[in-house]
Symmetry: C2
Subunit: 436 residues, 2 copies
């Protein structure tokens, strides 16, 4: 029997604010960070790794919350844990005192994501499989057993969920082959940060097209004249065949969103992302009706499955951008994928940040193989930075994520990274404090 | 000039789980707690006091979040702060790194509530007025200047908000007189906790009627047979004239809520409170349509003004139960009151917990005097415990909150309470650790 001997939660921060990477209309000074969970076991070489992503200050609050949330794992049998991945999720979630602090939202939910991501990583390592494979080897019933269907039975029953998965189960193998051959298509946001100069924007758009991307995304929403100029540059470079998406990072009220997006319509964006408050289901629905045929996308701040349920019910979005470190890991993400399937909405997961690309490649492959069965209207975000901090970084070739093969959820950071970027004691931050 | 010299945030916990006070279908072992903020100034005797309410474990996460959130206050001029209560709110809220952890929900929003409650308490003390008086002495323009109208302009513009307040401004004085004469009507939840025996329930219902209450609330949702028996007992004791409310504390999915509430319809509840996930606007709307004429109430876990906006837009609730320590203090609470006025929905604030009654008495008086102008269908929660820990506890007589007169937001705890119940170093908890 293998035992979880201890849990460490490390505050990891990267000084991305120095280069304006990640700058958008809402977030100007992000230091990309992670509350990074390590499940230690008494089996040499076996651990579980997971995290949630933040942008700097307050990461310590997530660290403290994850420490509290993970406490019941210590002393547990790994076999028991990975044998009932629905049970451990429900147990951790059922702490009514911690529940009060959400429920199922904000810091406590980010912490739950970090801890359960580590549990799923551990489960995949124990099985000797990449996470997508662990999931695609599960039967429809097994998958639905681990999915959290609470509060969504008005749109999706257990039987329906099994039925949706059963449809595609016989043909999973052929889609795995396709993934192995050509990977999962992605798009790049690296070109379009607000803090970049026009020259840099032009160069990065050209590089994106040259690298085989069919979709490019730009940040908008700080200044309309700037947006018009930047979108014109982007369209000049990428032409009419490449898709252009725009992302406002929640800066607008509903009427302003409608007006602004209409002013940018000439550049034919595929979607407007996060036009307003991520909580505003009815607001997104109103925007969608007003700006069609431009699509509405949101989800990176989508707090839980109950919110996504309503986005689907209200026909408020065209693209679902769930976040792998904000939803409570596979148990809740499965539910969102299943609802998206039922309502016919493509899931294009949010990524970037720290390690989100490493996680979502597994999710997208799983979706294609076992849930949606199609790549139509689907493209997963890719941002090309900070991958060097991971032991098994994602690989992108010809505008597609290469199918990951290593066991786990690709979530493990390197020892050198922890030594350098642990906050505030890591060598980078200690040095910065000395230099200041 | 007076300066804020430092901020303390104290983890205060009361061992309420020992007596089953506060037990409901979702929360069986609550230790009522507060992340309690003290703003110290260099003027002897002047401080600001505020808190958010939690139910035990995880309170330390809120404490850490409140420490971070309050940091920009240290060194500030008190005069500047209280002279621009909208400005300081927007400044604290604008921290984009902390915003990422919500936005405007969960632990970070609870922390914002605690800090801004202390700022408003300080402002009222500086003015030498109880908070309700500070607010009712402000002009419509001044009130709207401090209200957070971001993300709600699709339902409420600044001009509309001023107009709503201007209507009632000339007659505020007469309603203040009525409040001074007879107080603000309240109802009691003290009778109905799930953990109480039938005998205790019967006795407490009788005591409630004898004390002049016209509304009594019971917890439901754990077991239908128990609910039927307990509601029968309650109706026997209180008769048909007294209103009976029921509260499920979020235990049901939407279809189950509809079925269960219909099974209890014979007892003619005035409202069903928290029938399902507090995030489920469309779910509440579906329940409301199905169980009418039983009303639907929610709000104690209502995370922010964007959620309440949608409850109003979707005609999802009959009663709005905003929470004084979950919304971001007066700046956001004002917005919810103004939207409720526009949509014609009565606000019956959530209270109980630790010190929530002390806060909401100010809110309800303000609402009556300056916003709604009516008591129709309005009744504010009162739970009779833990008041002894406050320097100026609320007073209830004849089923009504007596108009508070002391300067401030009634939020200050006694020194003896902090000495005894600070966690884990206070004398009670240190003693409990020794006894264990």
């Amino acid at each position: 029997m293998t035992i979880i001997t201890s849990v460490d939660v490390v505050d990891v921060r990267f000084p991305t604010s120095l280069t304006a990477d990640g700058s958008d209309a809402m977030n100007k000074d992000a230091d990309y960070s992670a509350a990074y969970v390590i499940l230690h076991t008494d089996q040499p070489g076996l651990g579980g790794y997971g995290f949630t992503f933040t942008i700097g200050r307050g990461n310590e609050v997530c660290v403290l919350a994850a420490e509290l949330r993970a406490r019941p794992l210590v002393g547990r049998s790994v076999e028991e844990l990975v044998g009932d991945l629905g049970g451990i999720y429900r147990e951790l979630k059922s702490d009514s005192q911690l529940r009060w602090l959400g429920p199922e939202k904000g810091v406590e939910h980010l912490a739950m994501a970090a801890v359960m991501n580590a549990v799923w990583d551990l489960a995949a390592r124990v099985a000797g499989k990449p996470l997508w494979r662990l999931l695609t080897d599960m039967t429809p019933e097994q998958l639905v057993d681990v999915a959290d269907l609470s509060y969504v039975s008005d749109v999706l029953t257990r039987e329906e969920a099994i039925g949706l998965l059963a449809e595609l189960a016989p043909t999973r193998a052929e889609r795995v082959e396709r993934m192995a051959a050509s990977g999962y298509p992605c798009y790049t946001t690296s070109a379009g940060w607000l803090g970049y100069s026009d020259e840099k924007l032009r160069r990065l758009c050209q590089e994106a097209v040259d690298a085989g991307y069919t979709h490019v995304k730009l940040k908008v929403g700080a200044n309309l004249d700037d947006d018009l100029r930047r979108l014109r540059i982007a369209r000049e470079v990428i032409g009419d065949e490449v898709n252009l998406m725009i992302d406002a990072n929640q800066v607008w009220d509903v009427p302003e969103a409608i007006e602004w997006v209409k002013a940018l319509a000439e550049f034919k964006p595929l979607w407007i992302e996060e036009p307003t408050s991520p909580d505003d289901v009815l607001g997104h629905a109103a925007i969608r009706r007003a700006v069609a045929p431009i699509g509405v996308a949101t989800g990176e701040h989508g707090m839980n499955r109950v919110l996504f349920k309503q986005f689907f019910q209200a026909e408020a979005i065209d693209f679902c951008q769930l976040d792998s470190a904000r939803l409570a890991s596979i148990n809740e993400i499965l539910t969102v994928y299943l609802m998206a399937k039922k309502f016919g909405i493509p899931v294009c997961p949010h990524a970037g940040g720290v390690g989100l690309c490493e996680l979502v490649q597994h999710l997208s492959v799983f979706d294609y193989v076992a849930v949606s069965g199609t790549l139509e209207n689907r493209v997963t975000e890719f941002v090309d930075h900070l991958h060097e901090h991971f032991v098994e970084p994602c690989v992108v070739e010809n505008g597609a994520y290469v199918l990951p093969v290593a066991a786990g959820y690709s979530a493990e950071m390197t020892a050198a990274t922890l030594e350098e970027f642990a906050y505030p004691a890591g060598s980078y931050w200690a040095g910065a404090a000395r230099r200041a």
